[in-house]
């Protein structure tokens, strides 16, 4: 059983939303730029952006006729929310691997360090 203390899962558990979030972590983008990078429609991108904005992870500003989206400048908020999703996924996978008798230790064959 995995018990998890916090839930950014609703916000960043969705793969498209996480992809948008990670693109914005690299650089600010317009809706069109996000849609160009992702296999989802522009309206779908807008919908995900609304959820991320309502959740406080993403903010937007006007640039001419477009809106540019970027991560909330109170960066730790966004970073913490991102880490929340990371740990949830990581611990779930950790549990699977730890209980899989086939998982080998680094001393066997997984050692890739030079």
């Amino acid at each position: 059983m995995v018990a998890y203390g916090d839930s950014a899962l609703g916000l960043l558990g969705d793969p498209s939303r996480r992809a948008i979030f990670e693109l914005l972590a690299r650089r600010p983008c317009s809706v069109q730029e996000l849609a160009d990078e992702l296999p989802i429609s522009r309206p779908a991108v807008s919908q995900h952006l609304k959820v991320l904005r309502d959740g406080g992870l993403v903010v937007s500003r006007a640039a001419g006729t477009r809106r540019i989206y970027h991560l909330n400048p109170e960066g730790i908020t966004a970073l913490r929310a991102w880490m929340d999703g990371v740990w949830s996924d990581a611990l779930t996978t950790f549990q699977k691997i730890a209980q899989d008798p086939g998982s080998t230790m680094p001393s066997d064959d997984a050692q890739e360090n030079p």
Binding site: M1, G10, L11, I76, M83, L91, I97, S103, A110
Partner: protein, 160 residues
């Protein structure tokens, strides 16, 4: 540096049907196999996640292009019961080499039976990361951070 108001830690726990020794070995030694590779800081896709098994060891990602991006350092290495390492990616999504501005992750491993264990993880001290200070005033004013978290919880609840 003035100390910022605390930001709530992220906590999680996992109950396992394996010995505490195995739990530690997999957590510390096989991090590459359980850390989800889609989460990374470097520009390149992740080829490998490495946690060097000693105090002072590096914890980093290596990209498919060979580039390396540091995440933190190992502070405590006490098999099979405890591991503490830092997360030094700041609010600008950059590695910050200053250990005074590091968040940290503690993993505690407890035997609950001969072949049963509990792993508890706490990722704390987000307020030490550069970028965390800007919310200090907001917290004291009962504004931004509290409201953000409330909004955040509400959004999550509405989606259930």
């Amino acid at each position: 540096m003035t100390s910022a108001a605390p930001i709530p830690p992220i906590t999680g726990s996992v109950a396992l049907a394996v010995s505490v020794e195995r739990a530690f070995e997999v957590f510390a030694g096989l991090v590459n196999s359980w850390w989800p590779h889609q989460y990374h800081i470097g520009k390149a896709d992740v080829a490998e996640v490495v946690l060097e098994p000693r105090v002072g060891g590096r914890w980093y990602e290596r990209g498919v292009d060979g580039s390396e991006c540091d995440w933190g350092r190992v502070l405590v290495w006490e098999p099979p019961s405890r591991l503490v390492f830092t997360w030094q990616i700041n609010g600008s999504w950059q590695f910050d080499p200053d250990p005074d501005r590091a968040s940290e992750i503690e993993a505690r491993f407890t035997a609950t039976g001969p072949e049963e264990s509990l792993v508890e993880v706490e990722h704390r001290y987000f307020e030490r990361l550069d970028g965390g200070q800007s919310i200090h005033g907001a917290i004291n004013g009962g504004g931004g951070w509290v409201q953000l978290l409330d909004g955040f919880a509400k959004t999550v609840a509405e989606q259930r």
